[in-house]
Amino acid sequence: MTPLLQVNGITKRYGARVGCADVSFDLWPGEVMGIVGESGSGKSTLLNCLAGHLDPDAGEVLFDTRAEGPKDTVTMAEPERRMLSRTDWAFVHQNPRDGLRMGVSAGGNVGERLMAVGARNYGEIRGNALDWLGRVEIAGDRVDDRPSAFSGGMQQRLQIARNLVTGPRLVFMDEPTGGLDVSVQARLLDLLRGLVRELGLSAIIVTHDLAVVRLLADRLMVMKSGHVVEQGLTDQVLDDPQHGYTQLLVSSVLQV
């Protein structure tokens, strides 16, 4: 079996400052990888490099494409990378406004990726959109409402539906639960866990919320100042942290 994603020595600098340095890992099909760390530790930089939003200064990201096997997405031609990002990849932004078209109805938002890959039958697109709204627990009669009429939690669920509709194999999530209140967070996590397991998705989740990785991630990577300081199975890292920073992080969580 080949890993879905092989990351080798990804480095991104902002001038003299380090965004992330020499990060390497493999992601296997069906695996969920969590990346945790404090603000400014390079989590988002790393994620954006992996998803092709930023151009890393060094390193390679090999994605196991359907047609040609592992291919470096950093040096890949832009049309091909953009094609990947609307078929096999999905990107869930922290702020749903970044990932949604606010002037377009919920159905249009979900249908956009389908139309982008060539769907030209209105009835089928709409049927698909309704199906996906149902899966993320949005009532079917909201299909023609704009996202601006939705609550924060609904917008985030809509963003997830919009991303998963083309059946991607790899989902990048940047703080998917940030900015939501705890009860909505819990429901969203429940939903995400269900979808990830049901669809057999691989995912990379960036978060500073240890509860999120505890629930979703199989494996965990802890970052500090752009470097990976510890990685391993989630439970292992969280229950028996070895690195000083990880110990600090775990002990900082408020026990209610």
Partner: protein
């Protein structure tokens, strides 16, 4: 050079060259500007539907009055041309009259209202009903050349989308139409895919005119002055209106015959004729309507052509 030729022609009148004659180059624009526009036109014709940037000039009329179309017309006009200008199909509206006058003055070209006699037709928002020929050039005035403008605000991004042929977003607009209205409600500026490659905004012509773009024997040139873009559809080029399999494109018009000439196949304007709800539908192409009435066709509310002419 062309100015010299024109002086020869005017010499027949016996008088000194007029003030306009001395003040302007032929067709207002200087030769270097025309050369620049012609280069853009050639590029546009070579890549059908692609928006070519050009250094649009200030024209002696406001943006929105057809400065793009005027510059393109000025670049393609020759002293032998016969020009027709229409605005929403009509030869006698302000925009058409002032642009026609502009070229009568600055180029001294002959003008006409009859579509078959014209060699250059500048149009705002319509394609003439009478079939065009290989000897004609149709120049469109374009307000917004970018079909993706209101869907994707970033121009850098829309250019990339054109380059990579990512036109899914165009269908999102049509999807929204159907979701909201039950059918594709876009009635003008209906996007077309030219020769299977570039999606193009055909300027705000009614979608009734869209089928006329495809396979047209005349050269179709589009000029957007404020936006500084020129694009073109060469003769005999495919132009397919975007649609869905289960909601196919339909060239719609008001379901009436023309009240003056009785035409059932022309695009109609609705005219309110009193304040008690009375209305009539007349051909928006005034020349087409006149030609039909001349040929003896009379609609429900039209008087026979001869009597009207005498009155």
């Amino acid at each position: 050079m062309s100015a010299g030729r024109r002086q020869e022609r005017q010499a027949g009148d016996g008088g000194e060259p007029s003030m306009t004659e001395q003040a302007y180059n032929f067709a207002y624009l200087d030769e270097q500007t025309k050369r620049m526009i012609r280069r853009a036109l050639l590029k546009a014709l070579a890549i059908p539907g692609y928006q070519v940037p050009f250094a649009s000039r200030e024209m002696p009329m406001p943006y929105g009055w057809g400065t793009g179309g005027v510059q393109v017309s000025a670049a393609v006009l020759t002293p032998e041309d016969r020009m027709k200008v229409i605005d929403q199909g009509a030869d006698d509206t302000t925009n058409a009259v002032s642009i026609r006058k502009f070229f009568e003055r600055t180029a001294g070209v002959a003008t006409t209202e009859r579509t078959p006699e014209a060699t250059v037709i500048q149009t705002r928002h319509r394609i003439p009903e009478a079939p065009l020929t290989e000897n004609q050039i149709l120049v469109y005035q374009v307000p917004i050349p970018e079909p993706l403008r209101f869907l994707e605000p970033r121009e850098t991004e829309t250019r990339k989308m054109h380059a990579l042929e990512e036109y899914g977003l165009m269908h999102v607009k049509l999807y929204e139409d159907i979701a909201r209205h039950g059918h594709i409600a876009t009635a003008y500026a209906y996007p077309v895919k030219v020769e299977g490659r570039y999606v193009m905004d055909p300027s705000p012509i009614p979608k009734f005119d869209n089928p006329k773009i495809a396979g047209c024997p005349a050269i179709q040139l589009y000029g957007a002055g404020r936006e500084q873009r020129i694009y073109a559809v060469p003769p005999w080029t495919a132009a397919e209106s975007l649609d869905f399999e289960d909601h196919p494109f339909e060239a719609s018009k008001a379901d009436h015959p023309c009240a003056l000439c009785g035409a059932e196949d022309s695009y109609l304007d609705e005219v309110i004729i009193d304040d008690t709800g009375g209305r009539m539908f007349v051909c928006s192409d005034t020349d087409y309507c006149r030609a039909r009435r001349e040929a003896g066709h009379t609609g429900a509310m039209g008087a026979p052509y001869e009597t009207e002419a005498q009155a």
